[in-house]
């Protein structure tokens, strides 16, 4: 038996917000794959749960009139993996979605829960960071928008007022995905059902002649207290030619920006090695899909 005092099921975003305000200390629950584990481990007790799983406006993936991709926070990883829109416009996200847990977990676990849980290892986050995604958050005074970059403020901490706010939508702006190619690499101790030891997503756009980097974004997980963008390296490599020197600079740059720690899962040394290795692999793969070649 889980230690639950009361459960609610909201049928709209406004009802969920009202229930949050009426119930001090209540917890929003979507797929529950993180919250139920917290309950099981008794990190959460006497819980009052507000389920958002039945809110249809939080589900599904659509292309907005302006071309932005809007993913409802309640969309499951299985739905993301199968979505034609995602496969066509941001295929690296479909790939990352399929790296989460197991089929059973992906049937219920949501992208919104993955982001709001704040885990530094979340598989949904690096690719979305590399696509410079935005979040739409509903609160009593309406919707506010903020970039995903900066949303994570510490291990398990995000810039969301849990007593009055709800993540509704993840937006991948058209300008941030059109012409871009991305790849995600995750290292775990096993091939499936494994929390990332380290993950890296690279998203790039090539120059018109496909001979140099026009835009570059690198996102690394489990390499700092929060998922991280390597902005200095990105800036340094903008305009760089597609050479082995550029790859060496990428490895060196990423290494200088990450600050992993020792944990029972892996040592700092292993993570430093993985940061170099996975950023190169993700870069090479993104480059290949973009039709670029190392000369």
């Amino acid at each position: 038996m889980y230690d639950i005092r009361k459960t609610y099921s909201a049928s709209s975003v406004s009802e969920a917000l009202r229930l949050l305000l009426e119930n001090d200390g209540a917890t929003i629950i979507s797929g529950g794959t993180d919250v139920m584990i917290r309950l099981k481990e008794r990190k959460l007790k006497q819980a009052v749960l507000i389920s958002i799983a039945n809110i249809t406006e939080l589900k599904g993936i659509a292309v907005r009139e302006n071309g932005d991709i809007a993913i409802g926070a309640g969309t499951t990883f299985d739905e993301i993996y199968r979505s034609e829109i995602i496969r066509e416009c941001v295929p690296a996200l479909a790939f990352a979605a399929n790296q989460v847990g197991s089929p059973q977990i992906r049937h219920v676990a949501t992208i919104g829960g993955n982001i709001c849980n704040g885990a530094v290892s979340a598989d949904g986050v690096p690719v979305l960071l590399a696509y410079d995604s935005c979040l739409e958050i509903a609160g009593v005074s309406g919707i506010r928008t903020q970039t995903l970059s900066g949303f994570h403020t510490g291990p398990g901490k995000v810039n969301l007022d849990q007593s009055s706010e709800l993540l509704t939508t993840i937006v991948i702006p058209r300008a941030e995905y059109e012409g871009y190619f991305a790849a995600y690499y995750k290292f775990g101790q096993r091939n499936a059902m494994e929390i990332a030891t380290l993950g890296c997503a690279v998203c790039l756009r090539l120059s018109a002649d496909k001979k140099s980097i026009d835009e570059l974004r690198i996102a690394v997980s489990v390499a700092a207290p929060t998922p991280l963008r390597c902005r200095k390296t990105e800036a340094r490599l903008r305009g760089a030619p597609l050479t082995n020197q550029t790859i060496a600079a990428l490895r060196k740059g990423v290494l200088s920006e990450v600050q992993p720690r020792d944990s029972w899962r892996a040592s700092r040394q292993l993570r430093l090695q993985l940061a170099k290795e996975l950023s190169e692999r993700a870069f090479r793969q993104a480059l290949e899909t973009a039709g670029g070649e190392i000369v």
């Binding site: 038996m1 889980y2 230690d3 639950i4 009361k6 459960t7 099921s9 529950g32 794959t33 139920m36 584990i37 099981k40 389920s51 799983a53 299985d78 847990g101 197991s102 089929p103 059973q104 977990i105 049937h107 219920v108 091939n191 499936a192 059902m193």
Partner: protein, 155 residues
């Protein structure tokens, strides 16, 4: 607190009063006697508690019964058609000796049913990925994959 839920379980409509903190595993086992649903890790890792919820495999151990209100559930008990006749996935597990202690088997059968219902064929590698939410401590998985290949056909 007790809440009333309505579910369609193994072909029958049921109405039950359940505790809000009750997992679907506990409701199916203790209130409905469906003991094919096993309790392993109770943390979403091992797949022993796998059931089909609206046709999709779900770990019932980390799923609250109150969330299943209005939904359709299938467990191994619901696979029997005529007395003495096994579902093709069950029969394949028997034929390929995919069962040793049997603790993981009901969960794997349900994932197998979901795979078979998809109507698609898969490579062995894809099947391996599709059963990655199950742990089997006995068989080494090879016979399980043989059984699944037999049911869904090789790609």
């Amino acid at each position: 607190m007790i809440k009333i839920v309505h579910m369609h379980v193994n072909g029958t409509d049921v109405e039950l009063g359940v505790d809000e903190g009750e997992s679907l595993t506990d409701t199916l086992r203790n209130r409905l006697g469906l003991t094919s649903v096993k309790k392993g890790c109770e943390a979403g890792e091992c797949g022993a508690c796998t059931i089909l919820l609206d046709g999709k495999s779900v770990n019932s151990c980390i799923y609250l019964t109150v969330w299943a209100d209005g939904h359709t559930i299938l467990t191994v008990e619901g696979l029997q058609r005529n007395p003495g006749e096994l579902h093709p996935v069950q029969q394949a597990f028997v034929d390929e000796a995919a069962v040793q202690c049997g603790f993981c088997t009901p969960g794997l059968i349900m994932t197998g049913v979901e795979i078979a219902n998809s109507g698609e064929t898969y490579t062995r590698e894809e099947l391996r990925e599709l059963i990655s939410g199950h742990l089997c401590r006995c068989t080494g998985y090879e016979n399980i994959l043989n059984a699944l290949e037999k049911v869904v056909g090789k790609k």
